[in-house]
């Protein structure tokens, strides 16, 4: 009975995380490596969804993706479907809300890599992409993985923006938090507690994985 809800939640948060990977890593790298005067502005804009009530993010997304918007019409003409009030809209909402957390964690990982290792690789003949994939990523993978997991966790628990842009359609957009909300409204307390139990279980498992990753063998800590 809950399987549909759980699977949908996973589908939404996995797709949201996947959508974020490349932009989050790319932007994280740019913010760490390319010191420009507008860095603080980009950082601010990226972090905004973190500080704003998700319901506001949801409202903006609703406007941007609605049938009358360019994006909505594009979707209509290509897929013959609306974006809003679909599981994909929920994934987009989750992606936007979890993006700042992912970028921040990835930035920490990248900043942790000794720049001189990257310089050494460059002098050995490696171009920027090669340095990134053979030095930066292998050395920053902990921060990057942690970022992905944190983003996933945030996407999994996303509610405010999702309910606005995707609604609560059983079997289509009803993720775990949305399902809990619906059952609170209708007074199905037993189901509420069961769904909360499932949520806690997943949360504990992901946080344990996250912490394990953070404490795992680190090249740098090992040297001393």
């Amino acid at each position: 009975m809950y399987l549909e809800i759980i699977l949908l939640s996973f589908q939404v948060s996995i797709v949201a995380t996947l959508m974020n990977i490349i932009p989050a890593v790319g932007l994280g790298w740019l913010l760490v490596k390319r010191k420009t005067p507008i860095n603080f502005l980009v950082d601010l804009i990226v972090s905004l969804p973190l500080a704003l009530p998700p319901v506001i993010v949801g409202f903006f997304l609703l406007t941007a993706l609605s049938n009358s918007s360019p994006l909505g019409q594009l979707s209509q003409s290509i897929f013959g479907k609306d974006i809003v009030f679909t599981w994909f809209a929920a994934a987009i909402a989750s992606a936007v809300v979890s993006f700042p957390l992912m970028v921040r964690s990835i930035m920490v990982g990248i900043a942790d890599v000794d720049v001189r290792l990257e310089q050494s690789a460059k002098i050995l003949g490696a171009g920027a992409w090669r340095v990134f994939f053979t030095i930066t990523v292998p050395l920053a993978y902990k921060g990057m993985l942690a970022g992905l997991l944190i983003g996933f966790v945030r996407a999994f628990s996303e509610f405010g923006a999702t309910i606005v842009v995707a609604g609560s359609i059983s079997g289509r957009t009803e993720t775990l938090p949305v399902a809990i909300y619906g059952r609170i409204l209708t007074g199905k307390d037993n189901e509420v507690f069961e769904l909360i139990g499932i949520s806690i279980l997943f949360a504990v498992i992901t946080l344990l994985i996250h912490n394990w990753l953070m404490n795992k063998y680190s090249y740098r800590d090992d040297r001393e």
């Binding site: 000794d114 001189r116 290792l117 310089q119 050494s120 690789a121 460059k122 002098i123 050995l124 003949g125 490696a126 171009g127 090669r130 053979t134 030095i135 292998p138 050395l139 090249y219 740098r220 090992d222 040297r223």
Partner: protein, 367 residues
């Protein structure tokens, strides 16, 4: 030592770069063989290497190497560091921590087009004595081994020139001698041009034919060691009391039972204090230039344990004191006062006797 040997010009640079606290402004030829850039910390040595390697761009000037223009502010040429083919060993070795030793060495080698590969990793592993550690992780290397891996990795790209930033920095005394030996082998066997940055005059002394003296971002003197020492007015930059002879020796007796150690410097026996090292193993020995006494005639009735006969090959007469180069089978330097130089009437070609107390020889096992 090849002092005053003919140095061919292989390139040159003239560059200016303004930093927050100081300005780097230097012009010099790059010569074949080993050039040492010597100066106190903060004199701009590392900044200069960073500019030559392309990690930093000068504000103005040019850099040429082997007929290729690597940087020119006027014609807006700025070859990327990855395309400069310069071997550069940054301070602290910086071995890639996620790669094994062999993968570190091969990292740059693989990126060199086949036709440009002149130096093979196998040869480097041999020369740098790394056969035993190839599969190790960087965390399992000693400081000296890590330094050798970093040097081998830099050489594996068959660079036009090898630049080393403080190659002895942070290493135990015993290891320093071995790095000097390896660098000498690189020079002899690979015929590699090198730029060596150092704040220790002893390292510079052993390795370099050409020395550039840097102070506060500017070149204050250039030439052979003798020319540098003779150029005067360098007391702020060079502390002659630091001057020491560092060489590799073979342990003949560690003195654990006899009470007196003996190391072999080529064919010469040198008596040293009791120390810990296996008989037959290699050890680094050092003698301060100022601890060596020069006698014109064979001395008698001395308590000092070592008397070495040799011929003066060179005299560097500086403001503070005179540095005498004596060939005793190998070159040793001795520092004496200018007054002694005058009164003893020492000249190039004079036969002299070097007197060295056993206790003034430092010995450490080489590992």
């Amino acid at each position: 030592m090849g002092r005053d040997s003919q140095n061919n010009v292989i390139g040159g640079f003239s560059l200016e770069k303004q930093y927050k606290s100081f300005k780097l402004s230097i012009e010099a030829d790059l010569k074949s063989g080993v050039t040492a850039i010597f100066g106190n910390s903060g004199s701009g040595k590392t900044s200069l290497l960073n500019c030559i390697s392309g990690l930093m761009s000068p504000d103005r000037g040019y850099i040429r190497l082997n007929g290729e223009e690597l940087f020119n502010s006027k014609s807006k040429i700025n070859v990327k560091p990855e395309n400069r083919r310069i071997g550069y060993v940054l301070q602290d070795s910086l071995i890639f921590p996620h790669l094994s030793v062999i993968d570190n060495i091969n990292y740059g080698y693989k990126l060199v087009p086949r036709e440009n590969r002149k130096i093979e990793p196998d040869d480097l592993i041999q020369i740098m004595g790394l056969t035993e550690v190839l599969d190790r992780r960087p965390t399992e290397l000693s400081g000296g081994e890590a330094r050798r891996v970093a040097i081998a990795r830099a050489l594996a790209i068959s660079p036009n020139i090898l630049m080393l930033d403080e190659p002895m920095q942070g290493l135990d005394f015993g290891v320093r001698g071995s790095i000097i030996r390896y660098l000498t082998r690189i020079q002899n066997e690979l015929n590699m041009h090198m730029i060596l940055v150092s704040h220790s005059i002893s390292e510079v002394l052993v390795l370099a034919q050409n020395i550039i003296l840097l102070n506060k971002g500017e070149k204050v003197a250039e030439g052979s060691m003798r020319e540098i020492l003779s150029s005067g007015g360098l007391t702020s930059v060079i502390d002659l009391s630091q001057l020491e002879n560092v060489f590799e020796s073979i342990v003949k007796d560690n003195g654990q039972t006899s009470g007196l150690g003996i190391v072999m410097l080529n064919d010469l026996e040198i008596e040293v204090p009791v120390f810990h090292a296996k008989i037959g193993s290699k050890a680094t020995a050092s003698i301060r230039a100022s601890d060596i006494i020069i006698a014109k005639y064979p001395p008698e009735g001395l308590s000092a344990r070592n008397v070495l006969k040799g011929i003066i090959t060179d005299i560097a007469d500086s403001v503070q004191s005179a540095v005498i180069y004596v060939d005793v089978g190998t070159i040793l330097i001795a520092e004496i006062t200018r007054r002694s130089l005058r009164e003893l009437d020492l000249k190039i070609g004079s036969e002299v006797h070097l007197i060295i107390k056993a206790n003034s020889v430092g010995v450490a096992e080489l590992n």
